[in-house]
Symmetry: C2
Subunit: 437 residues, 2 copies
């Protein structure tokens, strides 16, 4: 027995919601064909409707400012949550599931913080939660990892998950701007929020990495255990030096690595080789580069934000779920499956990486020896050194690239180095993500 | 009511088949978890079993050399066709559908030539045909276009779909080899067949482009109408000149473009800018670069061939279908949907592109004027000219880059130019895929 009409309730008509409504209206016949059923956007809820109602939509959908009108509508099969943030999004999603509705969400924050509660509720209620738009917007990366690549063990994934930071870093790199300037341009062009802290601090990328990691390992991730560093303190100087001296470019990378029995997850600015596929990901674009044990290296590239790219993903989720509703599939296995235990992660001090250093020292004999000595004591082996021309006063930058070293040792060495009298400023370090060396 | 055990019959245990069997055995619990049902690889058929049976497999599966033992086994729910080529693959797929079995295939040729017959039979029999491995092996591009991006109108798609040609071109470009040499190395490393005609001629890429295009437009494609040129005649000279003079690299591109009312499909060697994401796709890798009206520009990159990458895609198809079998979904809409009419395509003479020319002329005054004059008469506007140093004898190469021009005009102009007394060799031309100019 199949259901001929699937009813949808949309909560939150901001940037993404407006895109969804527009696509719904203009692509209606295609959507029905793909879903194999009639689709009706029955109710749209947004508290801003109190002040101003959008035009032309009331012909197709009931508009409301009251969330319960959506949740309590027994016709509605699928609730689309697009208000973002933690609350009331979490309560809405849980209530919708509890009332027997499937859920589509684009909300990375609520999944990152409350994924366990949400997916356990979904399982209990025998309903599905789809969330393609929550990571990389229109790039179908959730489906790829969860379905197309599902038989692969993914033991390496590095990704550019935040368009704002990538835009800022691209401008800094290519147009030799400083961060403030590049950020201002990003804001003017609409690639950055007026309050960009979530983006620049790496927090937004951490949310997305936690979602991708939970899919890769089938385990929930404790958000607060993901090591996070942002790009707020990045200086143009290091971008120029690393490019000229070592052929590296800086990206804010979300990183997942596993070896035999441990998992490393972090979001940090990293240098990568300029011929790495991720180095070509410029401006507001996102990309996920991963390695599966069967498929080998693979990359997904595209726009990671914006009304239409995100709406495209939300609509594809609606279509998937509508097919299930239309066919009244009740007992299906969950879209995503998690084990009971949370993912165990390495502490940042025990990771291994290559490192880039910039030391600012007095321009006098013996300085390099003192630094090299401290690094040696802490088991940090230097791969390459470059002393740059004097940049004014009596200070001189010394650049270094290390072989693989343990982060705990790096940090201890830097504390000691920064205590040296000849070192004039806090030393700068970046991790170098270069698996070819 | 759900079915607890899904039975699978595998036909063809070559490179991909062996990968499928191995993954099936080693990842069995994961497969069952993903499918939500027990999976049994009940029968494996390969005519080579007459001479030699693989070891250790008979414990899990019945081995046979007789295809009808698979097709007539009423337990078998899904037939996996991995023998490749047109016949008997076509007959096997049709027979399997007719006997009520779903089909998974990695066979691009049979879908390219007989897609209409196969998908119409599937629809009539209410069975599904999945074919993720047929294009780009492990990259889930079929699912992405058919599902994740389904609401998008894709009006631009350029792709590197043949790993062998890309390997050969990469070696020619980067190591300054000639084609024969690069091909020999590709064969030694296992990236090229001993008989590589299908790869180098563009035929293999045409098959894959026809499959992608049929998904993009929801229409079947007449294979013989896709314009095809291979890389057999590519000379290292042009790769060097175009890189040095204009910053271009050569790729064998599968191209799909649409404007208001016409569609251009072709596989031709093309120059692209060295900073285009596809220019970074090196060696045996494949990539699909596309533009959706909602998602914008997107790229999928990975290994396009090989036992494990293809097997990864075959297994993901098996899992999808097993879920349907386990839930006894009978009336589902077809995985891919086509209109009745075939896709209408432009003739090659009416496409527009930019062009690269290499003329080999006598080194004397007035030559350039004669050539430029003929181009002008045929409405071909020159964007850039470079006359290279004399390469010996009295011949000299003249390089040209045109603005956008109509291919019919280009061809007429070249015929006239090659008739000039001052032109000593057949002129070389390549299309330039550069949408930024």
């Amino acid at each position: 027995m199949s259901k001929q009409l699937v009813n949808i309730g949309l909560i939150g008509m901001g940037t993404v919601g407006a895109g969804v409504v527009e696509i719904f209206q203009t692509k209606y016949p295609l959507l029905e064909k793909k879903a194999g059923a009639g689709l009706r956007l029955k109710r749209i809820c947004d508290k801003r409707f109190e002040k101003k109602q959008p035009e032309g939509i009331e012909k197709f959908s009931l508009l409301t400012t009251d969330i319960t009108e959506v949740l309590n509508d027994r016709d509605i099969d699928i609730v689309v949550e697009l208000i973002g943030g933690i609350e009331p999004a979490r309560r809405i999603i849980l209530a919708a599931l509890d009332k027997g509705k499937h859920v589509v969400t684009a909300n990375k924050a609520v999944l990152a913080y409350h994924g366990r509660e949400i997916f356990e509720t979904a399982k209990k209620c025998k309903r599905q939660v789809y969330f393609e738009a929550s990571v990389c917007a229109g790039i179908p990366i959730i489906q790829a990892i969860n379905e197309g690549l599902c038989v692969n063990q993914i033991d390496y994934l590095i990704a550019i998950l935040n368009g704002t930071s990538n835009y800022v870093l691209t401008k800094m790199q290519e147009e030799k701007r400083e961060l403030g300037e590049a950020l201002k341009e990003a804001q003017e062009k609409g690639f950055a929020e007026s309050a960009p802290a979530l983006d620049l601090s790496g927090e937004d990328a951490v949310h997305k990495l936690s979602i991708l990691s939970s899919l890769v390992f089938g385990k929930h991730v404790k958000l607060e255990e993901i090591h996070k560093e942002g790009i707020e303190m990045v200086e143009g100087l290091d971008l120029r030096f690393a490019k000229e001296e070592f052929g590296y470019v800086l990206k804010l990378l979300a990183i997942l690595k596993t070896d035999r029995d441990s998992v490393e997850l972090r979001v940090t600015p990293c240098f990568i080789r300029q011929d790495h596929p991720l180095a070509q990901v410029r401006n507001e674009y996102n990309a996920v580069y991963l390695r599966g044990n069967y498929v080998g290296d693979m990359m997904f590239y595209g726009k990671g934000a914006g009304s239409y790219p995100a709406a495209s993903a939300v609509i594809s989720d609606i279509i998937f779920l509508s097919r299930k509703v239309a066919q009244t599939i009740e007992e299906e296995i969950p879209y995503v499956q998690f084990s009971k235990n949370d993912l165990e992660m390495k502490e940042i001090s025990s990771i291994e990486s290559r490192y880039y250093f910039r030391f600012t020292t007095l321009d006098k004999p013996g300085v390099l020896a003192q630094i090299a000595n401290i690094l040696g004591v802490h088991d940090v082996s230097v791969a390459s050194v470059s002393q740059k021309e004097n940049i004014g006063l009596s200070e001189v930058p010394i650049l270094m690239l290390t072989h693989k070293a343990r982060e705990g040792n790096i940090r201890k060495a830097l504390v000691e180095i920064d205590r040296l009298n000849v070192v004039k400023r806090k030393s700068v370090f970046y991790r170098v993500e270069d698996d070819k060396i």
